[in-house]
Assembly symmetry: D2
Homo-oligomer: 359 residues x 4
């Protein structure tokens, strides 16, 4: 299989295609200007099935160009491509992603398996594209010609994006995050209807630890930064909301904070990537926004909406942020990272990628 589509697009593979995140990645790769979706891979139980048949929780939502494709194994022999997007679950990711990295593929992973490894870039393109440089260490350590690049946990991605401009300018010192997270964050079938019909659950296993640790890594917070988190699962299909209070090294004027968020366009490396909106943060002045129903699909799901921005008597500043957990928090984040990686290879990337398959 050539690594270029006839139209000159880079062929990418998808691992873990049947879950909600895998399906959303697949949708975002249809008609992608740079990428062509090659192998669509899933766990052993789904191999050989039609994608539309095996996809979980809304399969028929797949366009027929996807639904009729056959699923292959998550194995470099069947699914290698120079760029591999992975929506595998943690356990599978831990085993399979290194096989692809060793086989020379750049694995863009949504899994939590390797996010906190010191030599694995944990990237939001607008925030810390320079951390891609960790790939060199990673390759040297493991003797890989490929590598693994992760996007953060859905809450860390959304909250991290909203915090980045403030932290870059004023220096975060303390941060408390209280989340209201949607059902789709747990995948499909995920949460029982009985736990969410008219109910709230103040716990998601391992989530608070991921949020705090990944925000520290993503934002390169100093060790002495204090971070706390309390998560809640709420009866919302999609869209994670977080109420955030924060303290910075310098005192922030409210108007400056608002202007800073509103005008932020992120790191130069990220500007103009196909998956990214020009302004990744929308600041709403309405007193009752953001809301999942109204703001979920801002910027095709890649814009986060900040509202209720105001001074806070306890830490200094506060706001509420909403983002699409399956898009900005997962599938769209992975696609954007794939774009960033490709652009980062510099001129001639297509030729080099196509000339040097490790496989």
């Amino acid at each position: 299989m050539p690594h270029w589509s006839p139209e000159g697009r880079i062929r990418v593979s998808l691992l873990g295609a049947t879950g909600l995140v895998g399906q959303e990645i697949a949708r975002r790769l249809l008609d992608h200007p740079w990428f062509e979706l090659g192998a669509i891979a899933a766990s052993a139980g789904s191999t050989g099935l039609r994608y539309g048949e095996a996809a979980r929780g809304g399969a028929d939502g797949l366009p027929s160009a996807l639904a009729d494709r056959r699923l292959v194994r998550c194995d470099p022999d069947e699914a290698w491509a120079p760029i591999v997007l992975s929506a595998l679950d943690t356990a599978a990711a831990r085993e399979i992603e290194p096989q692809f990295a060793e086989a020379g593929a750049l694995v863009i992973s949504n899994a939590s398996a390797f996010r906190m490894e010191p030599d694995v870039p944990l990237i939001v393109p607008e925030v810390n594209p320079e951390d891609l440089s960790l790939l060199a260490t990673q390759r040297a350590t493991h003797g890989w010609s490929g590598g693994i690049v992760c996007n953060p946990n859905c809450v860390a991605a959304i909250v991290g994006l909203a915090l980045a401009p403030l932290h870059q300018r004023w220096g975060l010192r303390a941060l408390s995050v209280t989340t209201l997270q949607s059902a789709s964050g747990a995948g499909y079938p995920g949460v029982s209807a009985l736990d969410l019909l008219g109910n709230v659950v103040p716990h998601i296993e391992g989530e608070e630890e991921k949020i705090t640790a990944e925000l520290e890594k993503l934002l390169r917070l100093p060790d002495q930064t204090r971070i706390g988190a309390q998560v809640h699962r709420v009866p919302v299909p999609s869209g994670h909301m977080a109420s955030v209070i924060l303290e910075c090294a310098e005192k922030i004027r409210l108007e400056e904070a608002e202007e800073c968020l509103r005008n932020w366009t992120g790191a130069p490396e990220a500007r103009g990537l196909p998956a990214l909106p020009q302004h990744p943060i929308f600041v709403s002045c309405a007193s009752d926004r953001p809301q999942p129903r109204l703001d979920l699909w801002a910027g095709d799901g890649m814009t986060v909406t900040v509202g209720r921005l105001r001074r806070d008597p306890v830490l200094g500043l506060r706001f509420v942020v909403l983002g699409h957990n399956l898009v900005r928090g997962a599938a769209g984040a992975a696609v954007a990272n794939a774009e960033l990686v490709v652009r980062g290879q510099g001129p001639g990337v297509r030729e080099r990628l196509s000339l040097t398959p490790a496989h």
Copy 2:
């Protein structure tokens, strides 16, 4: 109309009977050991109707002993009693409650109209029964023989109860409250279904100001205490949840905090009141509690459930608390205050009440 029922119970009136809180007060007065429900009063539009016909949002849920009663006007001429429970809305309360106070009735009000008046007791019986002494000032100022006693906003009542033992022992210095509030908090019809089906709204008009101001008054917090609040309306029928982080003057050990909450029985004046559970705070050790579905009716709706109690890197301590907004946060709170007031009158209260009607 005598002020004593044939069984020797004190006759009480109910103002604003048709809303959700009014109905819940009425239910709690059926078979009450000390009180007998006399006049049931409502706004002009409902006067003369059967209670079951005029009650909003679940009228038929009223037991027939209530449903068949006729509604009278909210006027001392029709609805006077030595103790008057008021579930009036703010505007009506502002006008009507003083009329009853002037006519010698003790008005136990759930409305926000007078809560922040310096001479109006804002009472949770277990927390600050001694503030009833403000009644003397109030009577002197207004020349009333009766008076007005308020219970706090639903969130302030629930969070204030959970904070009281900690504050009394270690001294609150800073407090940040993030709420997930149910639909019934807005009454009936209240919130539009379109705003809550699969959605969250990060705003309730005036609520954050009430929470912070009333907690300060209720807990007698020093001026320099920092308090912040962010509210959310969530798709839950009943039950308000709050995620709380707090800093105290002294460092608290987690086990001590847990023990302090678990064993707290509140002020001596409140012990044994019919409306109150022995332990007003239940501390759950389960990792995923409290939940509205499972914990709403603890202690017949008068026990608040604390869970996720743990150290917080930002302020020091954190927990999640859930209480029944219509009961501990409104109707049950008013009934308990009525009991407290009656007990506070000392021996012979029944005789004195019945001998000295101002009316």
Copy 3:
């Protein structure tokens, strides 16, 4: 104001713009190939406001090209155009729509006010476009140069569409409709959240009568046809579902029914209208479809989805149908009727419309 936009599109007005249906009509007129949205009119309370400010229940969802427009009065002096789309409520429609008809406008009405008048066409373009001929009678009777054309109640529109091909071929004799209707059918604020969080209400005022009467008129059912309906409001934001059993004059083979529905393209007059999909009915073979979550937006909200099609021991045939109540059942239906009316004017319509304003 000329009746043609600079691009040669027909100028249309919108009455009752602030409700959910009015907003959806406005959205559908942006970039419409034939129409240009002229006056946007609303009730007296909203006149002069920005549309985005006055729109209810999700105002900020309006694109800025709409949100920044100013609202005018629902009066021919301010809002006349050759074609007027009305999303007025019943009472307002009864008063205002005839004023526009008298002033020479063709009023395309979503209101129920005149639907059952014998000389008012009640139209679904694919089903009974020939009923537009009633306009001649209507004009003669009232001495109007304009006229009123209605689209049916949301359920009648959706169920009527699914029944039309079967009725046209096999002749309906009996019909029983049980609906599961969404919250948005009641507008905004509409239904109380307390009535729909975890609850179902088996009643919508006047709805069952509308469904049966309008289906009879729309499908020209013989008098002896037996029709029954039972409605339920369910906790779904948008999308009306109906379970239908039916008896026909002739026995239907299941495969024939399926093929008949699947291949139906509707009346020739409707084919190719911009608002209409080529196949207005999609037949799903999945055992668990249709579902609001998955099928609501089929054909941009104008395709209804039929599933669970099978033989029924009681009446002979049964199916479940889902359609978008705000689109196929209201806004999209009105826009399609406007298109049908314009096309029905024959060649030269633009010139004639623009040359003969009654106003």
Copy 4:
């Protein structure tokens, strides 16, 4: 273990205790006047655990008198009692229930495994207690000293109860049932939250077949009776609603139907059983009832509520009925059947049961 509790109550065992139905049976056996809960048995994975630890979906809701009990195996060696209540799932019931029947226990089963066996009584006490006589055949056929008695599927139980008085008096000829069923009918975790948040699913595997077949058996409908059913899962935690249209051999006057339902007290054998209300059917005259939120717990969950009773142009009569699926449709039904069986044994039942254990 003796078969009598110290208080002279009959010891019963519970099989399949950890699911929602098992837990509800256990709760209903606490303080039961006739029964004492002996062994509490569950599948191998839960054996030896505390009941409160193993119970699914709301475990902590169990009173501590239950939560602290230890679970034993579903095996006659560990869990025999003269009366055994089974909430096993179908596959387990098929294997395990006959073992207990063979060992001389009367198994009161909520499972569907044996409901349609010709020699297995499928009982609603008020409807067909005489079918208990099938036990004699069953014992003879299998050589059992015990036996198996089933309660129907939740919808069949609720709808069958509402139909019984009408059928007994006027003779059902045709019946069409459209259901709106709650999440708890699928157990815990059961349905995915993503399938029910703002959504409806028009399918439950095998449910329509169970409803029609079991109604035929329960009501002893003549072969030529036509029955159809369409089920929907709706976003309601508990409470199954059904819209029913029916045709009878004789024409029914509406007032007679209403009176017939309202006054019906069921078969004499069932009257006064502790689990049963005096009037199992409540007829509401309100236009918008029944509703799960308001009517779920009528008669402690054992009364079904009928509303919207009216003439139907298609089949003649129609109504909407609501019942508690976990109580009248499952746990309460099983307990009532156990009571019926015990009473059916005649005077001296306690002595005989305790003297003749097969075990």
